[in-house]
């Protein structure tokens, strides 16, 4: 990769850096796996970047590469149910942010219980991607995405009924 491309790569990645963190939070339970996978995703993005010709939005391409990496990446630690997400800072129980963090923890746990593909669909849906874009990223048909989303929403609604 030449210098101009490298600068562009750094700029593009930083504009969409949240994608990596969200995917790692959804797919990996342990802090170690999340850190390892985020590095691997960044590396795969760097390796695949010369192939990005701007035919789609950068974020769509980035989702594709990052999700592909997360789904096929071998986890280092054992697969265990998510217990909790480490908060960035300690927030007292009465604080509004505390309640939001609690709800987020439940939401991540609920998404984590879905199949690998349903996790991807949920994430893309929550990120306001259209059914067309979700179909392009996953390789499923638009109808299939729509059918799956009905099922996913039902499942998540059930799991989160006392939370949200």
């Amino acid at each position: 990769m030449d210098l101009v491309t490298e600068d562009k790569f750094v700029e593009d990645i930083n504009r969409n850096i949240g994608i990596i963190h969200k995917i790692c939070n959804v797919y990996f339970n342990s802090q170690y796996d999340r850190q390892d996978a985020s590095q691997e995703i960044l590396y795969q993005l760097w390796k695949s970047y010369p192939g990005f010709k701007g035919e789609s939005q950068f974020s769509t391409w980035m989702y594709k590469v990052a999700l592909n990496t997360a789904i096929t990446y071998a986890k280092k630690s054992d697969r265990k149910p998510r217990k909790e997400m480490a908060p960035d800072n300690v927030i007292s129980e009465g604080n509004e942010q505390y309640h939001i963090n609690e709800k987020m923890r439940w939401l991540y746990a609920a998404i984590n219980s879905l199949s690998e593909i349903d996790k991807a669909i949920t994430l893309l849906y929550l990120e306001n991607k259209s059914y067309d874009e979700i179909a392009i990223i996953t390789g499923l048909t638009k109808t299939n995405v729509s059918v799956r989303l009905v099922r996913i929403k039902k499942s998540l609604k059930e799991k989160l009924k006392n939370i949200i």
């Binding site: 850096i17 963190h21 590396y43 695949s48 192939g51 789904i71 939001i100 349903d118 996953t138």
Partner: protein, 203 residues
């Protein structure tokens, strides 16, 4: 769906606080680290194979020279050594191919999972075929050499013992290969199969 509006709002409220900016140096550091890790994995695989073969070739060469003129020993040594020449060349080639970029701008998740599954399956198929040939050949060669060197009368005078020892060796090598396959291939392949089945079932 009201609940989903709330879920979406919660998601966006929380995840919009995007994390740290990565500087060019930090990205470079991560990439260098991963390149090093990838090369290390390939190199480790190569050196383990190389060290194992070095042992085989040294042992075979020693016996070859020491017992030059003894047709049986020479033939057994040659057979053992030849089996491993193919392993190094094909294994390294196939192993390296598994480190292609995981996705291009054209590869959706379905295509990529199929591709990764195909790569791993081809490597695993090769390994299974290789094990199928190498395990019995190695066992026969080892038993043949041991009996020839240390048992008066050689293999011809101890057919039953040779068969028992050969079967035991095949069993031990076979169990080791089974565990190795389970750890490195079967679990990963099963995971890919489940993803593919999940994608196919609702089509």
């Amino acid at each position: 769906m009201e609940e989903f509006f709330e879920v979406r709002t919660l998601w966006q409220l929380n995840t919009n606080q995007d994390p740290l900016f990565l500087s060019r140096d930090e990205i470079e550091k991560v990439i260098k680290l991963r390149i090093k890790k990838e090369r290390k994995a390939v190199a480790e695989y190569f050196w383990v194979l190389f060290a194992f073969q070095l042992l085989i070739y040294s042992f075979a060469s020693y016996l070859f020279i020491r017992y030059w003129g003894d047709t049986q020993i020479v033939a057994l040594c040659a057979a053992g050594a030849i089996v491993y020449v193919f392993l190094t060349i094909i294994s390294i080639r196939k192993f390296r191919s598994m480190y292609q970029p995981m996705a291009t701008h054209k590869g959706d998740i379905r295509a990529n999972v199929r591709n990764q599954y195909g790569l791993l399956t081809r490597f695993f198929d090769f390994k299974k075929k290789f094990d199928l040939v190498a395990i019995p050949v190695n066992s026969i060669v080892l038993v043949g050499i041991l009996l020839r060197l240390y048992m008066p009368g050689g293999i011809e005078s101890h057919i039953a013992e040779a068969m028992v020892a050969g079967a035991a060796m095949i069993l031990v090598f076979g169990i080791a290969a089974w565990f190795e396959n389970k750890k490195h291939f079967k679990r990963r392949l099963r995971r890919f199969e489940l993803i593919m089945e999940d994608m196919e079932k609702s089509e």
